[in-house]
């Protein structure tokens, strides 16, 4: 039995449910838009991993029946506030709900896509860059600074071919550092920013699902193809094959971060080098699957239904590390 935790209004969760349905794999949806309303739970820790159940309106599953869990936490906009609770208290209630669920998911022995701990690395792109280097992928020349002079010097070193973007998990549009932004460099004294040498070439989005890998080449003239339509640009995608060493590095990166499912952003330069920009622990893969028809959701369904292959299940990576 598979447990899907997420909101049906979320198109990625909807796709996962649809794929499980299509594969004939039994699953239950813990709708986080409503949770805990409409659900009954008992999670009991008694000297070992949790036992107990989760029950919906017309179903009940024991925790030890689970072969896999897929989770996409919701922001406040996707949730129905609990009734008779003062609005000011609602965020604290959401925090309490999520904390309980996180504690459960951290401690289940089945495949969990993904446990929170592995995903926390995505809150620091610079931290991920250090891991990326260890895994044998290239990381773009990067500067993190609160010093306008250092930023200017970096800009000059790379002949003005420099982009800037957020360091943290806060989503930002990747933009070139232009004259207008150069004039604002003195504002850096208020806090740090991240600059990177612009890497020319094709974007390649890699999805790892357990030990499987799906690579998508993205053709776009814009700096950040995710926002191409806003800038009047077009995006074309096609399945692609990675060199064996790059593919192995991607899988190694996912294993190192204890992530069973990732979206890894690469760029292949005209010289054939692969740079890695970030690892997304909760990838919105729908966009890529629709464009390329790669069986990403089918692979995910297999992973959730059959559980982890023996080598992956042998010993879970230590959480909190």
């Amino acid at each position: 039995m598979i447990l899907v935790c997420g909101g049906l209004a979320d198109s990625v969760t909807e796709l996962v449910c649809a794929r499980l349905e299509h594969c004939g794999y039994p699953y239950r949806l813990l709708d986080l838009g409503d949770y805990p309303a409409g659900f009954r739970i008992k999670w009991h820790w008694q000297g070992s991993g949790p036992s107990g159940y989760i029950a919906g309106p017309d179903w009940k599953i024991d925790l030890d029946e689970l072969t896999g869990v897929y989770v996409r936490y919701l922001g406040p906009e996707g949730r129905k506030p609990p009734p008779n609770i003062e609005p000011g208290v609602v965020p604290a209630m959401y925090f309490e709900y999520d904390t309980g669920l996180m504690a459960l998911l951290e401690d289940l022995s089945c495949a969990v896509v993904n446990r929170l701990d592995g995903g926390m690395s995505n809150s620091s792109k610079a931290y991920q860059a250090l891991i990326v280097r260890q895994c044998g992928l290239l990381t773009p020349p990067t500067l993190v600074t609160n010093d306008p002079h250092a930023a200017r010097s970096f800009y000059d070193d790379y002949n003005g071919e420099v982009i800037y973007k957020s360091l943290s998990g806060v989503r930002s549009i990747v933009r070139r550092l232009d004259q207008e932004q150069l004039a604002r460099l003195p504002l850096l004294r208020h806090g740090p920013a991240q600059f990177q040498a612009f890497i020319p070439g094709d974007n390649v989005r890699v999805h790892t699902v357990g030990e499987q890998l799906f690579a998508t080449r993205v053709h776009s003239q814009t700096v950040d193809y995710r926002y191409a339509s806003r800038e009047g640009g077009a995006v074309e995608m096609e399945p692609t094959t990675l060199p064996a060493n790059v593919a192995e590095s991607c899988l190694r990166l996912a294993r190192q971060l204890d992530l069973l499912f990732t979206g890894i952003d690469l760029k292949e330069t005209p010289e054939g080098d692969y740079y890695c920009f970030e690892v997304n622990p909760c990838p919105g893969f729908l966009y890529y699957e629709r464009h390329t028809h790669q069986p990403i959701s089918a692979a995910l369904a297999e992973l959730l239904h059959h559980g982890l292959p023996a080598p992956l299940n042998h010993e879970r990576a230590m959480p909190m590390r």
Binding site: H44, A92, E96, G100, P141, L167, R189, H190
Partner: protein, 302 residues
């Protein structure tokens, strides 16, 4: 990296300076006055911190970092959204920079702990069990009869009350009589509740570098617990971590994990041992380099 009023920071500073290691306390190396610049690529990682009129502090000049908090931003003059963004950016940069430094860092936190410094004890369960800690039975439920059954089982074991506490705070309530059980049931209509056994007075123990330091007389189980403490420290990469143990109807159990230990939980004697352990850890690399490679070092950054 911490507050200049923090007693732990100050004690570590004094102990380092008494051994001729120059130190500096800074709240946030990424906020002015220092100018921070860190370049990273596949070949190198090189940072520098520059205070006016001083030579730059390079990676190799920093022989150790002691982290008491994850950075502080003065909110004055910031719009709330901008402050939240800048806080996230600062946290992200600091976490990575601390991992990039070649020197000892106490603690070099994993992202999971860096971003969730006060995580619920329940979230540590897997690791605590795996390291060999005795853990307390806990029930999370929104079913009234399951909660009542838990209370009745405790009563049969001679335990007069269950303990309710939100997972996101340290507040705890004893649930004893019908009125309190009814109140709990009302709460369960809004959220699952967490129930566990009551416990006696906590006893704190701290791992500081290689030292395991008990506050007060170690319990008889100390010899069994210390290997678990070391395993936990190794698994998490924490060189400075504290635990609270307490007697319960199920025996001595761990009731709290502090990834950012409260110095105040320890008396003067224990504090001295903690400081000793931290200083040894922070300077081990310097001593090695002094004795081995005879490299020159300018000091420790705290």
């Amino acid at each position: 990296m911490g507050n200049s009023q923090d007693s732990c920071c100050l004690s570590v500073c004094r102990a380092l300076e008494a051994r001729n290691y120059p130190t500096r306390i800074i709240a946030n190396p990424l906020a002015q006055p220092p100018r921070f610049a860190w370049r990273l690529n596949n070949e190198q990682s090189a940072s520098q911190l520059v205070w006016d009129e001083e030579p730059p502090l390079l990676d190799d000049d920093i022989s150790g970092v002691f982290v008491r908090h994850s950075a502080w931003l003065d909110p004055t003059g910031w719009q709330p959204d901008d402050l939240a963004y800048m806080h996230a950016e600062t946290q992200a940069a600091l976490l990575a920079w601390l991992w990039s430094l070649p020197c000892p860092v106490v603690n070099r936190y994993s992202p999971a702990i860096w971003y969730r410094p006060k995580v619920s004890l329940l979230c540590w369960q897997y690791l605590l069990r795996r390291c060999g800690f005795p853990t307390l039975e806990t029930l999370v439920t929104n079913e009234e009869y399951e909660a009542r059954a838990f209370g009745q089982r405790l009563a049969l074991e001679g335990v007069a009350a269950a303990v309710y506490g939100p997972l996101t705070s340290d507040v705890r309530y004893l649930i004893t009589d019908d009125k309190e059980w009814n109140g709990l049931a009302a709460m369960q209509r809004c959220a699952p509740v967490s129930l566990t056994y009551p416990h006696g007075a906590p006893q704190f123990v701290c791992l500081a570098g290689e030292h395991v330091v008990w506050e007060g007389e170690p319990p008889p189980e100390a010899a069994l617990l210390e290997p678990a403490i070391r395993r936990f420290a190794q698994a998490t990469g924490l060189a400075f971590v504290a635990f609270a143990f307490a007697q319960t109807a199920q025996g001595l159990c761990v009731i709290a994990v502090e990834s950012h230990p409260y110095f105040e939980h320890f008396g003067e004697g224990a504090r001295q041992q903690i400081v000793e352990g931290l200083v040894e850890f922070l300077t081990a690399d310097v001593d090695y380099r002094r004795n081995g490679a005879a490299q020159s070092l300018q000091g420790s950054l705290i």
